[in-house]
């Protein structure tokens, strides 16, 4: 008998000189590191490139923070703050610009006593295709001034026009992030943020896509045209469907359905 059964001889497994952290690395380890370290950088950089290049298109949103925009129009406070701007070449001769506060707490904007007044508002523009939003500071004095203009009839008094009932399937988004503040401002990774924004008074939008790729963004209200209640929060950012009424108010499409009408699909 030479070596007892079960005895391990590490020298037979690795006869090379040993790397010791506080000493100069042996040649065998230096050779290993000379190959492994560049390989590690190439692998890390390559993986990073692959992951970043495969990210989904964030969508056609923009947050134009490099300039302050002035918008003049009639102020509307319900169901959500917005400005109706006269724009004769545009469809219906007007354009609606939603108004949100900086951050996620638009409910802090108190505009009820200025309902219908012509105003000039200053803020940062958020755009997604033909949808516009103005992000303003939390205090009215910082962004809202009276405007001495005549409001064309197309803007001053708008009657909702019912386009009929429909069952729509889509995703509930918070308009601010979806219009361009977050890019992407959708999907499950954005669900908590969207829920928090809507909780803070940011108008919810219903993002509906048809099978042929067309998309439509409808402002969500309850069945009576009021602001959506917080019951909708658990369904935010999920695929849902609901039976409701499509209503046109100027250039803006609303989807009117109570929170209970939505169900996850």
């Amino acid at each position: 008998m030479s070596v007892r059964k079960g005895v391990i001889d590490p020298a037979k497994i690795d006869a090379q000189e040993m790397f010791i952290g506080w000493a100069k690395a042996p040649a065998v380890d230096r050779r290993f590191l000379l190959g492994a370290l560049p390989l590690g950088l190439i692998a890390g950089g390559g993986a990073s490139w692959l992951i970043a290049s495969e990210l989904d298109d964030p969508g056609a949103g923009a947050w134009l923070t490099n300039a302050t925009h002035k918008v003049t129009g009639a102020l509307v406070s319900a169901p959500y703050p917005m400005l109706r701007v006269s724009d004769p070449p545009a469809p219906f001769g007007m354009r609606t610009v939603l108004v949100v506060a900086q951050g996620k707490c638009t409910s802090s904007l108190k505009l009820a006593d200025k309902e219908g007044l012509p105003v000039e508002a200053s803020g940062v523009l958020i755009e997604r295709k033909d949808r516009r939003m103005l992000e303003v500071p939390p205090f009215l004095d910082d962004w809202l001034n009276p405007a001495f203009i005549d409001m064309p009839g197309a803007v001053a008094a708008l009657e909702p026009v019912s386009l009929g009932s429909a069952r729509l399937a889509g995703t509930i988004m918070d308009s601010k992030c979806f219009f361009g503040v977050m890019r992407p401002g959708r999907g499950k990774t954005h669900k908590a943020c969207a829920s928090l924004c809507i909780r803070g008074g940011i108008p919810p939008s219903f993002w509906v896509r048809t099978k042929d790729g067309r998309e439509s963004v409808l402002l969500m209200t309850d069945a009576e045209g009021g602001a959506m209640p917080m019951d909708i929060l658990p369904l935010v950012a999920d695929a849902v469907e609901a039976e409701g009424e499509i209503v046109r108010v100027g250039d803006l499409l609303q989807f009117r359905a109570d929170a209970g009408a939505y169900r996850r699909i």
Partner: protein, 354 residues
Amino acid sequence: MGHQYKAIQWNGNKVVYDLYLFAFVALFVGVFMVVGLRPHDSGHTADPVVLAIRALGTAAFALLTVVLAIGPLARMNKRFLTLLYNRRHLGVATFLVASAHFGLALLWYHGGGPLNPFVSLFVSNPLYDSIPGFPFETLGFAAFLIMMAMAATSHDFWLNNLSAPVWKALHMLIYPAYALLVMHIVLGALMTEKSMVYPIMTAVAFIGVSGLHLIAGLREWGADSGMKALKAKGWIDVCAPDDIAENRAVITPLPKGDRVAIFRYDGRISAVTNACRHQNGPLGEGRVVDGCITCPWHGWQYRPDDGVSPPPFTEKISTYNVRIEAGRVMLDPKPNKPGTRVEPALIPVAGGAS
């Protein structure tokens, strides 16, 4: 070695290690940002903050995958000991990158709203009863807390004061943390992004880490099975002196499952426990360097005859009585108190006496 509590005991290898680590993270995040900020088909670019959150989170996961792969790789190929040596810095760097990811995500997605960001983290997505809808953020937060506890106790000060078993148990939580992070990714990014690259890469990372541990574990298990065959009483006949390479050891099991490293050096034989006082590194796989047994993991050293670290260090390990009888190395399986000096067995030279 321990008992000289400096924040970091720098040496040339650690400096190179940390510079490389910094370069790796900078390259990873830099490439991610540059490529991620390109205009997409819509003509628009992604939000730089969202991209930074993703870049940092991805980098942290990649680093943690490497952290976990180094252990089994070093068991299978000793060249990877070069990466194991300073792995704690890699772990702390992973935590710092994860902290940046967590901090930015908390501010960007949960800050500025009507709720405290930490409250929002737990209530903004209430679908705790749904697997696909589950709030993935909470899983990442749980993993982050584990990593924070590990980073905070990473110094040898805590290893010595918490005791090795407690410290080791705490740091084994990295495995549940990794599982939590995999689920954080699966239930978060993978449910948002459409590309199949992400599930494939996540699976490769998870299966790779699991597979490496499985392979290394099976090898260890095979070795353990062989070692458990020992059923000896009294002094154990281990081998002939010439079966041990100069300045190396053989590792022999004991009936109770402990292991002893029997070293040959300068015509002598000495035996000590196989477990390093530092992190239970396998001393028997080390070498005798400058007259001291040197652990292959972090270079801790002990004198072969008494198991005491050379001054100014004071660590002690158990020694074993050993003798040479009829050309055989005989080992007393009863350990001596750590630091007990044992007269080395002299290897007989041709024509001489032992």
